[in-house]
């Protein structure tokens, strides 16, 4: 019945085509033009990866809720490798400062930059953030220096200040051995600024602003716990209407990074983070796809030109494909209005599959023309006899795509809908417009006069002349290959899909190996502080958790002890004079004596540093001594210059008074609570609804799926509602695998159903599925021997291979049945089937050279799968048909 309907439909179609070929062509062209216009005006791209999965899934809902509540926190990470020791850290800090300065010039592209925190950022309770040891050292130092500074304010004389500083450095009044050596560098920096100002003032060079500024003190840079890496986090502006979302910010960051690398050639730094990895993946994918497409178009074009003889027939097929694609774009615009990151590849799918329909029609037309039939008769035969096979083949491919339409994996579901419909549109165009074009071109004698030579594969006829022997050989080959089948695994590691040598991948791995940080972290949400603390402790106890990051992690420890120390130190400072001391002229001789004493103290310090081999500090000190000597010489030569120092003296009085007041504010501040933490921190950790997030960073490399599974399982044992990138990736990867498996099984079932409807014969179904089954066994066996595993990029090849694997068998069976004499290899059908598989192989073959390892593996699976499918179709099926004498008992 199905056959009769098909026959009637095709006969009706032929009547229409033969009578009004121009009308059919113009209708298609107008429809395609309208579709193109509509698509150009209304079709948009949404490259938001979060929308690839159904928003109704509970884990995705939780993730989106967290994103909405706490804002976008998908950062770019600059990883700066610190050199050895303090000096190395200072180098990394300078690199970060230089880079930050460059990036701050682009607020429209880089919305946030986090790499350090200053005392000013931390508010009045800043000192509580010091460690207990540091707090004790600080309190001791304030106790020793504070009263002297207050005393000095009472006189306010610059020579006295130099005298006091010299005394302090010489060890008078303080216990120099207990001072923290880490304070030496900032102390020298402060002193350097002070002495520079004296020298500049004496030289008559104008300089303004404070001499001692407390606002830039207490800077804490975000080093990893082992101090090896300094991590900068950047929040880029995102544009989801472009393919690469962060292309602009990424280019800006990379340019700034390169300029900073040029400025600090010894420091290694690189860019990573999920958005960068995704952008790099997109860039390498696009580049690889473009190369693959150009290569395949050239090779397929050459092949078509040889097989289809001349350029016109291939052009007609490609023209029809173009019409079908335009219509598919129109369909997408009308139904979905948007293309996502997966559905955008539908065009490639149509090139791979849709073109095959045209190949079968044209090959049969060529065969009939070669046999001496006229143009009209050749087109009619091509349509009437190839049409059923083309329709059945197209429907099997449609099944593979429509099988995923109801999946929760929205990205794939949309690709399924667009790809499946696109194939249907290809079918319609190839069975209407292409015959009409062949008719018009043939009638006008536009095709070459000579007939194509390569239309049959008689050599294969000789190979399958002894089908029993051929099948025995193939069975033996299969048995030899079979152990490889059991070696194939599924690899979930997304990092291993990326191109080798990418900077983002290299620095991601360095972060994993060299630090307690990760660009992937899970998120748990707590209603209040008590709940947050409870969860934090539970998560910290898990072996799979490296560290947690929450507001309470930023609350200082031992605050009561520190408060006592600070209060004692504040009392030691005493009363700060309320107004600066009146300006008095600076006495030149006293100034010279003060400088002399300071110089002697610095000299002593330099000797100690020299003995200890502290080269960097020594160089800093040497430069300071040089400036002091310069100032001394100027004043010694011309004592009247001392009057220039009077305004500087006033400035220093103001600065020191301000610094002491600031210090008192810090020392007398009450212990820090959550509400006192900096607004920037609170914005990260407190959501719009007042709930608090707890970031959970893994202790292991969770790019490895087994470790990701354990991590997520552990977290869920504490909080079943836990979310974040690791949870999403874990769930999405499993969803993808489930979807692909489901699609493969459903495709197989639907294809079998279609075959049943077409032939109502189990034997037909078995025979149609035979090349596919054998081809799949060969594919899996070869994959095992070649060490090629399935992954999230190449698994989609399986439903496509199922569809095209059945396609060849359907054409063979139809032609075999029609021939009845077994001379299949004298016809154009094997060549058409070979050409179909060859176009698929060539199309995906370009991917073999892809840098993106996921794409390359997809290329390998498609090429090997098409090859095994083709060989099994050409060798196994005809041999089996001969042995079973298929078709001979009928009619």
């Amino acid at each position: 019945m199905f056959s009769r309907i098909q026959e009637k439909l095709l006969a009706c179609l032929w009547r229409r085509i033969s009578s009004t070929p121009r009308a059919i062509i113009w209708c298609a062209v107008v429809l395609a033009a309208a579709a193109t216009l509509v698509s150009a005006l209304f079709l948009r791209l949404d490259s938001d990866q979060d929308k690839l999965v159904s928003q109704d899934l509970p884990y995705q809902q939780r993730y989106l809720e967290v994103l909405k509540n706490f804002g976008d926190q998908e950062y770019l990470y600059i990883v700066i490798q610190a050199g050895e020791g303090e000096q190395g850290n200072r180098g990394a800090e300078k690199f970060a400062e230089a880079l930050a300065a460059r990036l701050q010039a682009h607020p429209d592209q880089i919305q946030e930059i986090h790499y350090r925190i200053t005392a000013q950022d931390l508010g009045p309770g800043a000192l509580y953030f010091a460690s207990l040891d540091e707090a004790e050292g600080l309190a001791d130092m304030v106790s020793a220096i504070g009263p002297q500074a207050v005393n000095w304010l009472r006189s306010g004389s610059l020579p006295d200040l130099l005298d006091q500083v010299g005394g302090l450095l010489g060890g008078n009044g303080t216990d120099g051995e207990t001072a923290d050596p880490a304070l030496l560098e900032p102390a020298l920096e402060g002193l350097d600024g002070f002495v520079t100002r004296i020298d500049q003032t004496l030289a008559g060079e104008a300089s303004e602003g404070p001499v001692f500024d407390m606002t830039d003190r207490g800077v804490h840079y975000f080093f990893t716990a082992n101090q090896r890496l300094l991590i900068m986090r950047l929040l880029p502006a995102k544009d989801y209407s472009t393919m690469d979302v962060i292309a602009g910010p990424l280019a800006t960051v990379r340019e700034a990074l390169q300029q900073t690398r040029d400025e600090f050639p010894v420091i290694q730094a690189g860019l990573t983070g999920r958005p960068v990895l995704q952008a790099d993946e997109m860039a390498t994918t696009n580049r690889d796809m473009l190369r693959a497409s150009i290569l395949s178009v050239i090779v397929v074009g050459l092949l078509f030109t040889v097989v289809l003889h001349g350029w016109l027939r291939p052009v007609l097929v490609i023209f029809c494909l173009g019409l079908a694609m335009a219509m598919t774009f129109g369909f997408t615009t009308v139904t979905l209005g948007v293309l996502n990151l997966l559905s955008i590849v539908f065009a490639l799918v149509l090139v791979g599959i849709g073109v095959d329909f045209g190949v079968h029609v044209v090959m049969r037309y060529v065969e009939e023309r070669k046999a001496g039939h006229g143009v009209d008769e050749s087109v009619r035969i091509a349509l009437m006899y190839t049409g059923p096979g083309v329709i059945l083949g197209a429907l099997t491919s449609v099944c593979a795509f429509y099988a995923v339409v109801w999946s929760d994996f929205s990205g794939l579901a949309e690709l399924g809908l667009i790809g499946g419909t696109g194939i249907l549109l290809c079918l319609v165009v190839m069975l209407t417009v292409l015959p009409a074009l062949l008719l018009l071109a043939g009638r006008r004698n536009l095709f070459p006069k000579s007939v194509p030579q390569v239309t049959a594969l008689p050599i294969l006829g000789r190979v399958s002349a002894r089908p029993g022997r051929l099948l025995i050989v193939l069975t033996l080959v299969t048995l030899v290959l079979l152990p490889g089948l059991f070696k194939v695994r599924f690899n979930y590691n997304l990092l291993e899909l990326q191109a080798k040598g990418l900077e983002s991948v290299r620095f991601e791995k360095r972060m994993i190996e060299d630090s307690d940080e990760s660009t992937w972290y899970a998120i748990s949400v707590a209603g209040d502080l008590a709940e947050l603390d409870e969860m934090r402790e539970k998560f910290k106890a898990l072996p799979t958790v490296g560290k947690t990051d929450s507001l309470t992690d930023y609350l200082p420890q031992n605050q009561q002890r520190k408060a006592t120390l600070f209060q004692q130190a504040a009392r030691r400072i005493g009363e700060i004079p309320s107004k600066p001391t009146a300006d008095r002229a600076v006495d030149a001789q006293r100034m010279l004596a003060g400088m002399k004493r300071l110089s002697t103290a610095l000299d002593d310090l330099a000797e100690k540093l020299f003995a200890a081999g502290a080269g960097a500090e020594l160089a800093q000190l040497d430069s300071l001594i040089e400036k002091l000597d310069s100032a001394y010489s100027r004043l010694d030569e011309n004592p009247s210059l001392a009057e220039r120092l009077t305004p500087l003296q006033a400035q220093v009085q103001t600065d020191i008074a301000n610094a002491l007041r600031q210090l008192r504010v810090w020392l007398t501040a009450p212990p820090v609570g959550v509400d006192d933490l900096p607004a920037s921190l609170r914005a990260v950790f407190i959501g719009r609804d007042g709930k608090m997030q707890l970031k959970i960073i893994p202790s292991q490399d969770i790019w490895k799926f087994a470790k990701l599974r354990t991590f997520v399982r552990d977290l869920r044992s504490i909080d079943p509602q836990v979310t974040g990138v690791p949870v999403s990736v874990f769930e999405s990867a499993q969803l993808m695998k489930r979807t692909f498996l489901y699609a493969a099984v459903l495709t197989l079932a639907l294809v079998s159903l279609l075959l049943w409807i077409n032939a109502r014969s189990m034997r037909y179904i078995m025979l149609a599925l035979l090349p596919l089954s054998v081809g799949m066994i060969w594919l899996l066996s070869l994959m095992g021997w070649l060490g090629l595993n399935f992954n999230l990029a190449n698994f989609f090849a399986i439903p496509i291979l199922i569809a095209i694997g059945v396609d060849g068998a359907v054409h063979f069976l139809a032609r075999w049945k029609h021939l009845r004499n077994g001379c299949l290899f004298r016809t154009s059908t094997p060549m058409a089937v070979t050409l179909s598989f060859a176009t698929t192989m060539i199309g995906f073959g370009g991917l073999l050279f892809a840098h993106h390892r996921g794409l390359a593996s997809l290329g390998w699976v498609m090429v090997i799968g098409s090859l095994t499918g083709m060989l099994s179709c050409l060798l196994v099926l005809p041999a089996v048909l001969k042995i079973f004498r298929y078709g001979e008992n009928k009619e």
Partner: protein, 270 residues
């Protein structure tokens, strides 16, 4: 009876009293020419003493002293009997035999197992040490004969210039640059530090020693089991976070096994 009573008291005094006295395991650090004073360094000595005492289980009392003048160190050793110490190479070779020093371990200044001494002069100065005249300064020159043999293979009196110990090698270096001194001899950390200064471009190395042992940890007098324990404690310090600050103050990255070159050099009369 009185005689028996006296014998009994004497027995108590000789045999029992030491058993009740706490054992001491004092040390001394002798670094001639290093900056500072004994008083400045005492907090560091106390910290090291407390660390060692704690690691030894608190069963012995440990006290330490620091000397940067040979005369003071000699005087102290004449009147006191520290059990161990850290001594500069020159002092070990000059006084090692007399003070019965046995190497236990070696320091690692800057992480290095060896030191090297270099004689520096201004670039326009003599091209070989035999042509140098005047005075050459250095922190290791408080034992001038030892230093002369290690660096020039001759006694100090056989050199064409005089050697003088200094506590201020940087000032001596500046004197050399100003032409007020002939040269300066620097050990490895000092030489490394000079490389960070712009003035290093105006200097040249006239003579360099062979690689030399670093300052040694030594036992004074006969060694005992406690010295072995000390050696283990010192060698473990670089892996102990609690010792990090202490090592920094002692200007060493840690301690390694005793340098076998010390005994050879002492036997050869270096």
């Amino acid at each position: 009876m009185l005689r028996y009573s006296l014998f009994f008291l004497l027995f108590l005094l000789v045999a029992v009293a030491p058993a009740h006295a706490a054992e001491t395991f004092d040390f001394v650090i002798i670094q001639p020419g290093q900056p500072g004073t004994s008083e400045d360094a005492q907090p560091v000595m106390d910290s090291l003493a407390a660390y060692i005492q704690e690691k030894l289980g608190g069963e012995v009392a440990v006290h330490g002293r620091y000397f940067n003048r040979v005369k003071d160190a000699d005087a102290y050793l004449a009147d006191n009997h520290p059990r161990w110490g850290i001594v500069q190479l020159g002092y070990f070779l000059g006084r090692g035999e007399a003070s019965c020093m046995t190497p236990l371990a070696a320091t690692r200044p800057g992480g290095s197992e060896s030191d090297m001494w270099r004689m520096l002069v201004v670039k326009g100065g003599p091209d070989e040490w035999q042509s140098a005249k005047g005075t050459v300064y250095g922190t290791m020159l408080f034992q001038p004969d030892v230093a002369a043999r290690l660096l020039f293979g001759k006694g100090a009196g056989d050199l064409p210039f005089s050697l003088e110990g200094t506590f201020r090698p940087l000032r001596a270096l500046r004197s050399v640059l100003r032409g007020k001194a002939t040269g300066v001899i620097l050990d490895q950390p000092q030489y490394d530090a000079v490389q960070s200064l712009p003035q290093s471009d105006d200097l040249k190395v006239l003579q360099a020693s062979d690689p030399l042992p670093t300052s040694a940890v030594v036992a004074f007098g006969p060694t005992a089991e406690i010295h072995d324990r000390l050696r283990g404690i010192l060698q473990d310090m670089q892996n102990d976070p609690a010792a990090a600050d202490l090592l920094q103050l002692l200007q060493t990255e840690g301690f390694g096994p005793a340098d076998s070159r010390l005994e050879t050099m002492r036997e050869n009369g270096a």
